[in-house]
């Protein structure tokens, strides 16, 4: 069984702790007096962040937990507050006194620690990595995030889906289309309607385009992190071309506001020409880069995530598929009708993740041609019914899970589990047997989101 998410709800008289697996969903009812549930982190290691978050958000304790440090509330965050409680209304909090955070570390003769972040040397999001080192060798890594914790779940409560939209599409800029598709899906479920094929195709077109942009950018940056700059020149050029096309299609280089029920006509001829040209570029790129032995020397056997650990940690997206796991939310009739073939590799190293990205770009370009259509179909929906709705979308990073509870047409509870929230927790496993100089390369090969993770 794969753990997808674990989160809680404040139901006024009691709490609910909801655990979503791929095959079932458990709901535990928890008393408000001394709230406590059993930790599941020993069986599902990635449950630990969910559980630490549930404590910070609601004050629900985890029985048998091996890690009770705060997750969202960092050194100077005000103490003893649980902001996701319905009764918590404060808006202006002041920084508190510093309370030290105990990093995981390995002790021993000559073992030292390296602290990296939250502000990094490049143009990168904020996050922290704590290494225990024996010389060059990484003995342990602790990933510590939530510096960008913006309180998005709480700030969406009480809003209508329409009001929430501008925020939801900006949770993670690289995955904006995926978040919008999840939101639209929930909106359709709540109106007891369904999306016509034409709209589905347009959405899928944009989602695949977002994936292509993300992947070509990565192809450049991954190689650059192995000291091979020419690939970045090419990757960033292709990414810029694609962003300009994204703007032509959606009026935003990131597709903000792109997913609607309307179909805006696109210039099919010139866009098709562009897609063909991009396909040729990618094929050239692959032939060229596969021939650079010094690069593959760095990629091969670096940052391995075994299939066993992939399953244990329940990783998603490219990280899972490059380690031999068959896992993709696009494995369905609609996508296979349009030419979807799941990319995959078995070695689970940086090389595998790089090659899976190339294969996915090629497949996405093929599907995009099949999704191209300007045909319109009117969608009518009038009323949104209250209820609890789930949506799953395969974003460029992996499986995105969104949950919205509507009450009187407003958001009662919003929860989203970015693919990165799972994959970040498996990153330290990939460090085994690697040197610290390869950390940026391994990290980039997974390309995880900080913003989507931190919320």
């Amino acid at each position: 069984m794969r753990l997808i998410a674990r989160f809680a709800k404040d139901k006024k008289t009691h709490f609910e702790v909801i655990t979503v697996y791929d095959k079932k969903t458990d709901v535990e009812v928890v008393e408000k007096a001394n709230p406590m549930v059993q930790s599941i982190a020993k069986r599902f290691p990635t449950a630990i962040w969910f559980e630490r978050k549930i404590y910070d958000d609601f004050g629900i304790k985890m029985e048998g937990s091996f890690d009770e440090r705060p997750l969202l509330h960092q050194e100077r965050f005000p103490r003893n507050i649980h902001p996701m409680l319905k009764g918590f209304k404060e808006k202006n909090l002041e920084l508190g006194e510093t309370l030290a955070y105990n990093y995981e570390k390995i002790d021993g003769d000559g073992i030292f620690e390296v602290s990296v972040g939250p502000i990094h040397a490049g143009i990168i999001e904020a996050g922290h990595f704590q290494f225990s080192q024996a010389g060059e060798d990484i003995l342990h890594l602790e990933v510590r995030h939530f510096y960008k914790y913006r309180g998005i779940e709480k700030s969406l409560e009480g809003l209508s889906l329409k009001e929430a939209r501008p925020i939801i599409e900006r949770i993670s800029g690289n995955e904006s289309i995926a978040y919008q598709i999840a939101l639209l899906d929930i909106q359709m479920q709540a109106s007891h309607g369904s999306l016509p094929l034409t709209v589905q195709k347009r959405n899928a077109l944009l989602l695949e385009f977002e994936r292509v942009i993300h992947h070509v950018t990565d192809l450049g940056f991954i190689a650059n992190d192995a000291g091979f700059a020419p690939a970045l020149t090419i990757g960033s050029k292709l990414s810029e071309d694609a962003r300009r096309w994204m703007k032509k299609l959606t009026n935003s280089r990131f597709g903000f506001g792109a997913i609607t029920l309307e179909i805006t006509p696109i210039e099919l001829d010139s866009f098709t020409l562009y897609l063909d040209a991009l396909k040729k570029e990618i094929e050239w790129f692959e032939r060229w880069i596969i021939d650079i032995p010094s690069l593959w020397d760095r990629f091969d056997t670096t940052g391995i995530l075994s299939i066993r650990k992939t399953i244990k940690y329940g990783t998603v997206g490219v990280v899972a598929r490059a380690s031999g796991r068959v896992l993709d939310r696009r494995l369905n009739q609609f996508y296979s009708d349009h030419g979807f073939i799941m990319a995959g590799a078995n070695s689970g190293d940086v090389a595998a993740r790089f090659l899976v990205r190339i294969d996915e770009i090629k497949n996405s370009l093929l599907m995009m041609r099949n999704f191209l259509d300007n045909e319109k179909e009117e969608v009518l929906y009038e009323h949104l019914y209250d209820g609890e709705y789930n949506s799953f979308v395969e974003s460029s990073l992996g499986e995105l899970f969104m949950h919205i509870e509507l009450k009187e047409g407003k958001i009662e509870r919003f929860f989203v589990r970015d693919p990165s929230f799972i994959n970040w927790q498996a990153l330290h496993v990939m460090m085994d047997g690697n040197i610290i100089a390869d950390f940026p390369l391994i990290n980039k090969s997974c390309d995880l989101s900080y913003a989507g993770n931190d919320l």
Partner: protein, 169 residues
């Protein structure tokens, strides 16, 4: 690598090939002159993300692609605040990042400036009234210039930096 050089020879210089208007060309020249005059040849920027969605970072990364190639104008994104003239702040200011952003600012040597990037740093920010956000950025930092947009496009960032440089005496 022969494949690469063959491709390079067949292709042309993209920075000239861009469908840029002559206006941008002029601005780029002007920018270069201003930097030479006022910042002894280079403007060093330290980017700090205090709670963005990563789109602003992506656009700043795009400034180094072959179309914009910002470094040839003498503008560099540097690895340490100690090397920087300007701190470029993106995103909302989260409570968790406030102490670190302040730290980074203190590490910069004077004269120094703060430029805010993107709508999240202004009253146009879509996230309103969140407990996890440390109020307005200008309550914690003296902001010298603001570049608007969501996210500001690479061209807007170049134009914004130029306008900031013009406003320095």
């Amino acid at each position: 690598m022969i494949k690469f050089w063959k491709k390079r020879l067949e292709g042309s210089v993209l920075t000239e090939n861009l469908e840029v208007d002559s206006e941008l060309e002029k601005i780029k020249k002007e920018l270069k002159n201003t930097i030479t005059k006022k910042f002894a040849g280079s403007l060093a920027i330290r980017m700090v993300d205090s709670g963005s969605c990563n789109a602003c970072e992506a656009e700043c990364n795009a400034l180094s692609n072959p179309y914009y190639d910002l470094e040839r104008l003498g503008i560099y994104f540097v690895a340490s605040p100690r090397h920087a003239d300007v701190m470029l702040l993106s995103g909302v200011m989260t409570l968790n990042m406030l102490p670190h952003a302040k730290d980074a600012y203190e590490q910069m040597s004077s004269p120094k400036w703060v430029i805010t990037l993107g709508d999240c740093t202004s009253e146009k920010c879509p996230i309103k009234n969140s407990f996890a956000i440390a109020g307005k950025i200008d309550e914690s930092f003296r902001v010298a210039y603001h570049i608007k947009g969501c996210p500001p496009e690479p061209k807007d960032i170049v134009l914004g930096l130029l306008d900031f440089l013009r406003s320095r005496r």
